[in-house]
Symmetry: C2
Subunit: 328 residues, 2 copies
């Protein structure tokens, strides 16, 4: 294992501390319990959005804390759920009196711990579960579909609504709506190594790729020989469109997300392939995002996410955002 | 070689086309000859900033085209200089009548071709050569020090000055000043593979790292056993500070740049190590940037850049910028 780190046990603490210092104008970091809040803490009268999950997917979620997106994020150890006490402390720190919305990727540990935190908090807490990964119905760490990069779109759009004063019930309903209209699927060209494990999560042959991979290296749909970018794009778009069934002319958001180890040169090539496939299917790519947003440590690969947009979602997507990883 | 691509010969064209489509609100892309300009082209009365170099370092340079930074970028093939005709066409497209400033990383091919383009253009063209890499005096592709991630700081700061109406001579002098006050050094944990070559640029053993690596995999100062992040940071900061000789209390900008294959989790850990080292040396880290900005395809590793800041440079750094890769 070759990593830029000191002791394995300190990886997360040191990284978060660095994150907090580098973005001291946007966030505040608590190291015990571990959570990240937007600078200035609770905004009175605003619904607070709290997300979280295992680390190793950076910039998800801490990179999306700030104006117009999340109020707080709870990072677990690498590929490990955060604990209810982190979630409670984070919710407490950003609770502005209008309720707290948990945005939770559908993995058993995350779901269980956020549920526990919600029960302990009581009445003014709601939860949106994301499960945008169309690859497999259930998986190593999830009952039902996994939540992946589509979660970012939920966080951005609901974040804009919350900033504009939407109620807890409206934020929760909007989150459900965005999740239901989002579909993702990913591929891996290489594995990744959890620092505490010290060896790759899984193995791929020199000419192999995995279609439908999970963001922790969970098995996907199929292991195949390497395919050209156009075939990868066609295969992912087919899987996503079979699920979302967008009409011709439908406005969509297209996210080409890097898994961490794939250079931008390739990601923009994949975007080119995906957008040609979308054109071919008669979709209108109205909004785009290309880069490393929901990663799997240093895994080489990418995922595509499509979200069906209407005028309301587009307006909320376009609303100002000021976080470490997304800013406009 | 495992890459998300179609035919090797089409990698750059497809990637640039994707880049242009994904960021159609910010840039325009010409594929023949290849160059990227800010949307809307020439700004009348404004000095035009044009940079360029081999591809494979994305987001450098096309990702920095836009308001407050570059007017145009010329991408060569991967790790290969762009040609004078690209530079001339790009300069022509953005020339607003106040002169054109070429910002050129110090590599023999880039220098020669930008010189040729400048000669062909004639009077109103000036050039800033960047050579911020303190690792080695001359290298495989350069006479004198190499230009690396410090180039981004030059582009941002001079871009702000040009946007504010600075003259060609003032922009050139400012660029020289920023370059002279910037120092960088990088390390690699892994090699990278140029698509047309199909095999890694160089080899590193399972427990080896290279200190002072160039962004094309050029040899650095020393090949060593893997070191903890704190030792890496101390070693890079020592090399940079020996060159820049910052006084105690000096305001600095600290850039922790990923080489492309290193996850953010590690880059923020490196930032934490670097900022502790800066504290220890009595420096004031007044501005920070962490992420993949000047990469070497999928190479694992990072570089540190320090720039000594004064009030003027800080103000120009803080000025609004709206590009694909840098926005505030």
């Amino acid at each position: 294992m070759k990593k830029l780190m000191n002791a394995v046990d300190d990886v997360l603490t040191e990284s978060l501390r660095g994150f907090g210092r580098a973005h001291a104008d946007i966030v505040e970091v608590s190291l015990d319990p571990m959570f990240v809040t937007r600078k200035g803490g609770a905004k009175k009268g605003k619904v607070a959005l709290v997300s979280g999950g295992g680390s190793g997917h950076e910039p998800l979620h801490a990179g999306f804390v700030g104006h117009g997106m999340l109020d707080a994020a709870c990072p677990g150890q690498v590929f490990t759920s955060p604990t209810p006490d982190q979630m409670l402390a984070a919710a407490e720190a950003v609770d502005g009196g209008a309720g707290v919305l948990f945005i939770v990727k559908n993995y058993a540990g995350d779901v269980m711990n956020f549920e526990m935190a919600a029960e302990m908090r009581g009445g003014d807490t709601a939860t949106v579960l994301t499960n945008d990964d169309v690859a497999v119905e259930s998986s190593t760490h999830s009952q039902g579909r996994r939540g992946v990069a589509g979660t970012i779109i939920v966080e951005k759009i609901v974040g804009a609504a919350a900033e504009a004063g939407a109620s807890l019930a409206d934020c929760a309903a909007l989150g459900e709506r965005v999740n239901a209209t989002a579909g993702s699927m990913g591929i891996a060209l290489s594995s990744c190594t959890v620092p505490a494990a010290g060896k790759p999560n899984f193995q791929l042959g020199a000419d192999e790729m995995e279609l439908g991979i999970g963001i922790h290296g969970e098995p996907g749909r199929q292991r195949t020989r390497m395919m050209p970018a156009d075939k990868v794009a066609a295969s992912l778009m087919e899987a996503i469109c079979s699920d979302l069934k967008p009409a011709k002319g439908q406005d969509v958001l297209l996210l080409v997300n890097g898994m961490g180890g794939t250079p931008l040169l390739e990601l923009y090539g994949m975007y080119d392939a995906a957008v040609r496939e979308a054109d071919h299917r008669g979709l209108t790519v109205a909004r785009s995002l290309v880069g490393n947003y929901c990663t799997s440590l240093e895994m080489a690969g990418c995922s595509l996410t499509l979200v069906k947009l209407d005028a309301e979602l587009m307006k909320l997507w376009d609303a100002p955002v000021h976080t470490a990883a997304l800013r406009w």
